[in-house]
Amino acid sequence: MSFLTIEHLEKSFGANRVVKDFNLGIEKGEFVSLLGPSGCGKTTVLRMVAGFETPSTGRIAIGGKDVVDLRPNQRNIGMVFQSYALFPNLTVADNIGFGLKVAGKPRAERTARVQEMLKLIGLSELGDRYPFQLSGGQQQRVALARALAPSPHVLLLDEPLSALDAKVRVSLRNEIRAIQKKLGITTIFVTHDQEEALSMSDRIVVMHGGIAEQVGTPFEVYNRPATKFVANFVGMLNTLSAEVIDAATGRVRIGGTEATLRRPLPEGKVMLAARPEMISLGLQPGRDTVLDGTITSVDFFGSVIRLRARVDGSDLAFDMFNTTEEPPPAPGTDVRLSLLASDLLLIGEN
C-alpha cells in the first residue's frame, strides 16, 4: 500500500469531465511529477489532493487515511503556488511561521522553527523583510519554507517555477529537489515543462485529456513512451514515414534504405520517430541504418550543436557534441547519418 493513494478519481465541471479514472500510488518520500499541457487535468488532480476541489467520485488516502471528506486545513499538506501567494502584510518570518501560529504553537517553538527554515532556504538574513522587497526566486523559496514549516505529510507544488526567469528556474529546481531529498517528504509536482519533470522526478505521470497516459521513471517515459501523445509531448521527435515490408520482423523501407526494427509492426505505411540524440553524423559503430541528406541549419548551443538535415523531403534534427578540433558541417554539406533501427519509435499508422 502506497503512502498516498489515488483511486478511480473523477472530476466533472458541469458536463465537462476534466479528470477521468485517475489512479496513482506514491511511496513515502517519492517525488512524482504530473506533466501535461494546460487543461489536461493535472492541476485539478492536485487541487483535489489539497482539498480545494471535491472529487465527483473516487478516493484519496494519505497514510492509509481517507481524506476526501476533510477540509484543506485538516489534511496536513504543504502547498506552493505558481504566484507565490505570500501574505503581503506579513514579514518573511511571519509568513513562514503562519502555519505554526494557527496551530497554536508557542512562540519559542515558532521562532526556532522559522530560523531553521530560513537557514534551509539560505535566507537567514531576510526574516524581517516584506514579500515585496524580495525577488521572485526568493519569494518562492519563502513560500516553500512556509509550506514545509508545519512538517506536512505531503508537499504539493503547483507550477512553482513558471513565473520565474530561466536562470533562477534552473537553480531553484535543483534547490527544491535537494531540500525534498533532505527532508524525505512525499511530493507531487505539477508542471507543463518536460525538462523540469524529467530532471526532478522519481516518477512522471504524463496526463492528457484528464487521463494518465503513462506513469514511469523519466528514463522510461522518455525512451519508451507508451502512447503517441507521450512520445510527442516529452522530448523532441523527428518523424519518418516508412513502408512496412515484413510486419513480423519489423522490416521497413525509409526513403531509399531499408531497416529492421526487430519487433512486429502493423501492415502498410507507418509513422516512425527518432529522438535527435538517436541520430549521429557519419557512420558509427552499432548503428545499422544509414540515411543520406543535406545539412540545412546549424545551431551552436555551446557544448551541444543542433543540426538539421533534409532527408527524403523531411527535416531531421540531430545533435553532436562540440569538439575543439573540428567545426560542424556548414549548411549545404552532404552528409551521411546513421541510427539504430530498433531505437525507432512507432507513433502512428496510416
Binding site: F52, N73, G78, F87, N89, F98, V102, Y130
Partner: protein, 293 residues
C-alpha cells in the same frame, strides 16, 4: 545644431515653461478652493476689526454649538460605521459569497446611482417612506399594528438622519471596497487554508489586515461625506435638528449667532473635524501599509 548646448539652454528654459502647462489649474484651485478656505481659517482668528483673537474659537463652546458638533459627529460616525459594515457585507456577499455573477454589474451601477442620489430628493424619498404618512410607516400601522412614532422613531431625529444618510453611504462603500475585495487573491485564502487556518483565522490574520487601509480610507471619506451633508439634512428636518451644517447654513443666511466671525469659527471647526478624520486616516494608513512601502 550642437546638442549639448541645446539641451542646457533647453533645461534653463524648461523649468518655468513646465509650470505654464498647469498654471490655469493652479490659478483655479488657488482662487476657488485654497483662498476661500484660508479666508475662513483666518477669519476664525479675527475680531470684527481684523485684529487677532481667540475669542471666536472660545465662543464655539457657548450656546447650542457644542451640542450641534456633538450630534453631527455622532451621526457622521454612526452612518460611516454602519455604511462601512453594511456596504462591506454586501460587497463581500457579491464577490465572495457565491452569488450569481450576473448580480455584480447591476449592483455596481445601482451603487453609482444611489451614491449620487443625495441631497433634497433623497430626503423626500425617505419622508415618503418613513415619514408620518410614509409607505412603511402607514403599512406597519395599518397592517401590523406597529406604531413607529409610539416606539420613539422619528425621521427627524438622530436615527432618522442616520438611516437616510446610509442611502448614499452604503453604495459609496460598495463602490470603493469592491476593487479592494477583487484584489484579494484566491491563492491567499487557499494558502492559509492549506497551512491549517480556519476561515475566521484567514480573515483576522490576512484578509482584514490587507483590506484595512481601504476600509479606513472609506470610513474617513464617509465620515466627511456625512459631516458636510447639508441639503439632505435641511430638506429632511428644516431647521428642527441642531447639527453643525444646518447651523452654519442659517448663520450664513442670516447671522443667527449675531457674530459674523463666529460663523468663520464654526466653519473652521468643520474643517478641523474633517481634517482630523483625514489625518488619522493618513497616519493609520501609513502604519498599516508598511508592507507596501
Amino acid at each position: 545644431m550642437q546638442p549639448e548646448q541645446g539641451t542646457r539652454r533647453g533645461a534653463l528654459r524648461r523649468l518655468p515653461l513646465v509650470w505654464v502647462g498647469i498654471a490655469p489649474f493652479v490659478l483655479f484651485v488657488t482662487l476657488f478652493l485654497i483662498l476661500p478656505t484660508l479666508k475662513i481659517v483666518i477669519g476664525a482668528f479675527q475680531a470684527g476689526d481684523g485684529s487677532f483673537t481667540l475669542q471666536n474659537i472660545r465662543d464655539l463652546a457657548t450656546g447650542s454649538i457644542p451640542a450641534a458638533f456633538w450630534i453631527s459627529i455622532k451621526i457622521s460616525v454612526a452612518s460611516a460605521l454602519l455604511g462601512c459594515a453594511i456596504g462591506f457585507a454586501m460587497a463581500a456577499a457579491m464577490i465572495l459569497g457565491g452569488l450569481p455573477a450576473a448580480i455584480r454589474g447591476p449592483l455596481l451601477t445601482f451603487s453609482g446611482v444611489a451614491s449620487n442620489f443625495a441631497g433634497v430628493p433623497l430626503a423626500f424619498a425617505f419622508l415618503a417612506t418613513l415619514g408620518p404618512l410614509g409607505l412603511v410607516t402607514v403599512f406597519l400601522r395599518t397592517q401590523l399594528g406597529i406604531d413607529l412614532r409610539a416606539l420613539g422613531f422619528n425621521i427627524l431625529s438622530f436615527w432618522g438622519l442616520t438611516i437616510t444618510y446610509l442611502f448614499f453611504q452604503i453604495p459609496l462603500m460598495i463602490l470603493i471596497i469592491t476593487p479592494a475585495l477583487d484584489g484579494l487573491k484566491r491563492e491567499w485564502r487557499e494558502a492559509a487554508s492549506v497551512l491549517g487556518a480556519t476561515g475566521p483565522q484567514y480573515w483576522r490574520m490576512v484578509a482584514l489586515p490587507i483590506l484595512f487601509p481601504s476600509l479606513l480610507g472609506t470610513f474617513a471619506l464617509l465620515f466627511a461625506n456625512a459631516f458636510g451633508a447639508v441639503a439632505t439634512a435641511i430638506a429632511l428636518t428644516g431647521s428642527s435638528l441642531n447639527i453643525v451644517p444646518i447651523l452654519l447654513f442659517a448663520q450664513i443666511r442670516g447671522d443667527v449667532l449675531g457674530n459674523p466671525n463666529l460663523g468663520f469659527a464654526l466653519a473652521f471647526g468643520m474643517i478641523v473635524i474633517t481634517g482630523i478624520a483625514n489625518t488619522i486616516y493618513i497616519w493609520l494608513r501609513a502604519r498599516s501599509e508598511r508592507w507596501l512601502k
